[in-house]
């Protein structure tokens, strides 16, 4: 049981709209395809055994070094602007 759990590539925040043109294709790419980067990777973590916040962690997948941690809510606000 871990304090933080991993939920995948931060691109999952950019969910396509259901009534988009080519929504089917966009959802296929959104749900199944991953860049799977070796190096600096932005990803979603959930603070399950803590304050239950969603985080965007910038991490190096080659050596597990954590470079930056942001609250997902803050980042999403930035995306909406």
């Amino acid at each position: 049981m871990n304090e933080f759990i991993y939920y995948g590539d931060a691109s999952l925040l950019k969910r396509p709209k259901w009534d988009n043109k080519n929504a089917e294709d966009k959802f296929y790419k959104y749900l199944y395809l991953r860049k799977n980067i070796a190096g600096i990777h932005k990803e979603l973590w959930f603070h399950q055994q803590g304050d239950r916040s969603w985080l965007i962690v910038t991490r190096n997948t080659k050596n597990h070094e954590i470079i930056r941690v942001e609250l997902a809510t803050e980042v999403v606000k930035g995306l909406d602007k």
Binding site: K35, A38, E43, K62, H64
Partner: protein
Amino acid sequence: MYYNFLKILKEGLTNNNGWKKTWQNPQVKKKYNVIIIGGGGHGLATAFYLAKEFNVKNIAVLEKNWIGGGNVGRNTTIIRSNYMLNENEAFYEFSLKLWESLEKQINYNAMVSQRGVLNIFHSDAQKDSFIRRGNSMIINGADAELYDVQKIKSIYPFLDYENARFPIKGGLFQKRGGTVRHDAVAWGYAHAADKLGVDIIQNCEVNNFKFKSGACIGVETNKGLIEANKVGCAVAGSTSLLLSKADMTLPIESHVLQAFVSESIKPIIPGVITFGAGHFYISQSDKGGLVFGGDIDGYNSYAQRGNLDTLEDVCESGLALMPAISKARLLRMWGGIMDMSMDGSPIIDRTHIKGLYMNAGWCYGGFKATPASGWCFAHLIAKDYSHKLSENFKLDRFKNGYMIDEKGQGAQPNLH
């Protein structure tokens, strides 16, 4: 036949001076019929079956490090065919049959040991699901037996049967499952492929593909351009990186899976045991070390080493099953990079580029699949259409909705 009893006797009497290299270090040719990228179990098996079963000549295996240095040497050496879904079970049963005749095929002692795999269950509901899986195995020609507690006690008296939280209620046993010496699988396939004229090129890293009018005609390596009519990729956790050179984005995440070995102790575990209430599997090597593992670490990684929280979790599961191992000291641990697919099942398919083929998505079940994976991938490359047993392992199944999701976890690779 190169290795046999008389040869060993003769070499024993003549100071072992007559052994030749198991495989050569050939010069790289300018062009091959088929290039296999990746000198691991799957790549070497593919090359061997291409030469042996499909009569393809002029094959090369390119390996960026030394052969067998990746996941084929970084697993817990278990073979079994105890899946439930038809698409998987028939394939893995074929693989287990190939394991049974492997050593004769490759003339190499891979220490295939069918010592039995026991999946323990801890509740009535779990018993029902295991019986269902056992029936599915039997339908597909595999063997499965239901063991009650008494039977398990007679083999493994030291398990924690009275555990209040996870009492042992029985187990699903596959007698033909077991272990294989993993390094010898890579060496044995290399030995046999080499004897059939396959060029095994080590320290040869592929940096890019060479394309001409939409077809793949070779690879750019640190030893220069090598041309080929067909190129097959069998690079496990590096698949996304390699195929990004062909502008492909794949339904794969790379994750690290750890394995652990204790100090050597006297024989205690005759077969393979898996814990049903957590994720833990254990066997004992012929040298006496307890070989065990559990879940992947759970986050994208290319580091080939894991973290301690996973070790703690694995050991907690182990102690819940067999408290006695708390006395054993851990000797070694390592990590391998798994190509975790979005439905937990593999991909053996052509790509959208002519002449370029892929073999990936083995998650952490790749070792037991080695012979069948090699056979089916060789079939695909040689004949340009899928083997019957791998025709469901298509890349486009995620788009078309034909996922093969053994555990029903959905598109969450770290849960498969």
